[in-house]
């Protein structure tokens, strides 16, 4: 076990009944790093994060967080971490300020310290104006920010974020990203789960891809991107013959084939030069391709590239890249 790791998991296994949710997962998060666990719904992300945050026990495997074993030294771990889960963990019937002061008291701050800490965090998350209103009058984005702030009250050394931006509008998502970036810059170790490739890319310095309870790829965002092209060029072909022709030319470079819609997807970096070259290559006579579209790579593309099969429970949102 390395002391320089904020989170280290070896051989994690967890089953619910006969369903094997985690099947030998190894993870390592450097101190002060931001680590993203990327995977579709049902991949086991939440189970993994709950084990790391001491909320459930693994069936097998060892976990150390902030230098302590999550089972033997659970109290020590809990004093150094915070978890912000998928469901907002703030009370609707308390004001924003009351929520944060309560968290402060629960992390052992005195009344005065808790009040100061709450004011500080409300200011930092741009919630001061709403601070004295009960949370049931707040917008979803504001609640999420409060939820994040509540996780920071105790100055955790390791911060667990389970899908921190799922269900947020693009503006709130940006705000969350900014906060996570600042936290990382200040030396807090962050472990987050996400379904969004872009989010992992934007925030994390290391990414692990979880599929069917196993880590199927791990590395920096750059390393992963070398395995997965950043974009996909979808070609809509003029007719069935053109479809066959282009499919033959691309062969196994075709990321997806959809004969019913005469559509073929091919990986690209999204640059004009490469798209132009690809179009020329597959359609030298300029008759086969009717239309084309360039998409940011979806999680499906990542999975296809990394595992050779589509995500088992694909993310149906298929959002266009939200930049």
């Amino acid at each position: 076990m390395h002391d320089e790791l904020a989170v280290e998991a070896i051989g994690l296994e967890k089953s619910y009944g006969r369903v094997r949710v985690l099947d030998g997962v190894d993870l390592g998060v450097a101190r002060g790093g931001v680590f993203a666990l990327l995977g579709p719904n049902g991949a086991g992300k939440t189970t993994a994060v709950r084990i790391l945050a001491t909320l459930i026990r693994a069936d097998a495997g060892q976990v150390r967080v902030a230098g302590f074993d999550v089972v033997a030294d659970r109290r020590q771990v809990r004093r150094r971490i915070s978890l912000t889960g998928q469901f907002a963990a703030v009370d609707d019937l308390q004001t924003g300020e009351e929520n944060l002061r309560m968290m402060g008291r629960l992390t052992g701050l005195s009344r005065a310290q808790a009040r100061r800490r709450a004011a500080e965090l409300l200011e930092r998350f741009d919630l001061t104006e709403a601070a004295r209103r009960t949370v049931n009058t707040w917008s979803g984005g504001m609640r999420r920010r409060l939820d994040l702030a509540a996780g920071l009250v105790g100055n955790p050394a390791v911060l667990f974020l389970d899908e921190p931006t799922t269900g947020l509008d693009p503006r709130s998502r940006q705000a969350v990203w900014q906060v996570v970036g600042e936290l990382a810059a200040s030396g807090v170790s962050v472990f987050l789960t996400t379904q969004y490739l872009e989010e992992a890319d934007r925030l994390a310095d290391r990414i692990a891809v979880l599929d069917g309870g196993r880590v199927v790829a791990e590395g920096t965002s750059l390393q992963l991107k070398e395995q997965v092209a950043g974009h996909r060029l979808d070609l809509v072909l003029a007719d069935a013959a053109a479809f066959e022709e282009v499919a033959r030319r691309l062969d196994d470079r075709a990321a997806r084939r959809d004969p019913a819609h005469r559509t073929i997807g091919v990986a690209t970096d999204g640059s004009a030069a490469q798209v132009r070259a690809l179009l020329d290559e597959v359609d030298p006579t300029r008759r086969s391709v009717d239309r084309f579209a360039v998409h940011g790579a979806t999680l499906d593309d990542v999975f296809l590239a990394l595992t050779g099969h589509p995500a088992e429970q694909p993310d149906h949102e298929k959002e266009p890249a939200h930049v």
Binding site: Q76, T84, A88, R105, G108, A150, G154, N155, A157, F160
Partner: protein, 261 residues
């Protein structure tokens, strides 16, 4: 925030967590209009209902209002405590329980916070019941010590029934289901000596009505308030309440661990 400030949080006494959780529950009670209405308006309505609607037809040997006050007190305690079940379930099914646990707040502190709020709520409704009872002709004959004893027994009953409710809250999978379960608790005062003398009930019910936990509590309260001899009533009432209290504290401890395993 810097790496230097990312220190460990100091350890803190369990009592402090309990007080924080109780403060939370009380604040939330104060703001939830339906809970407030139920716990404050209902006692008044029940009092008026029993005394003016049913009271005329019931012969108890005393003025009915004098007879019925203990029964209404316990009925209201049941209503008040049953809200605890729903709020415990609400906490357990939402995201907040994970946060509390990851902050190392102990399960008993979380539950005891709900129970404390329940006791305060019920004391408020008790005061209200007494107030209304006085207005409509309740004239107890209790000395200061009798009052103290009566309030003590009532408090013990409220505490016990609130913990039962917390355990029910841990058992239920949704706040609605928790509300349904607690209906059973609220039903218990009816087949007792709370509203009609037991000897007016069908014979097959006598055994249950005489020996169920609510009856000794009611008899004790009535005896103390009216300055009548209470015999072994207080001992049986206290034994029931302490028994129920200990059992539900133990059971809810087990349920909490099972629920969060």
């Amino acid at each position: 925030m810097s790496e230097l400030t990312a220190t460990t949080t100091p350890s803190r006494p369990a009592f402090a967590d309990w007080a924080t959780m109780a403060g939370r529950s009380l604040r939330m009670t104060r703001r939830s209009v339906d809970v407030l209405l139920t716990s404050l308006l209902l006692p008044v309505l029940l009092m008026v209902l029993f005394v003016y609607l049913f009271g005329g037809a019931i012969q108890t040997g005393t003025r009915y209002v004098t007879y019925v006050v203990p029964g209404v007190l316990l009925l209201c305690a049941g209503f008040g405590a049953s809200m605890t079940a729903a709020s415990v379930t609400y906490d357990m099914t939402g995201g907040i329980i994970d946060r509390f646990r990851s902050l190392d707040v102990a399960g008993p502190a979380i539950l005891a916070g709900h129970v404390a709020a329940s006791v305060v709520r019920n004391l408020a409704s008790t005061v209200l019941v007494f107030g209304v009872a006085f207005l409509i002709g309740f004239r107890p004959a209790a000395g200061p010590l009798d009052w103290l004893a009566a309030v003590g027994v009532l408090l013990l009953f409220i505490l016990a029934i609130s913990w039962v409710s917390a355990a029910v809250g841990l058992l239920a999978r949704s706040p609605e289901a928790a509300g349904g379960f607690s209906f059973l608790i609220m039903f218990l005062p009816y087949p007792s000596s709370g509203f009609v003398p037991i000897d007016t009930m069908p014979t097959w019910l006598h055994g249950f009505a005489t020996h169920q936990p609510v009856t000794p509590v009611i008899e004790t309260l009535r005896g103390l308030l009216l300055g009548l001899p209470v015999g072994s009533g207080p001992a049986r009432a206290v034994a029931w309440c302490v028994g129920i209290l200990v059992a539900s504290v133990v059971v809810s401890g087990v349920l909490f661990r099972r629920r969060t395993a």
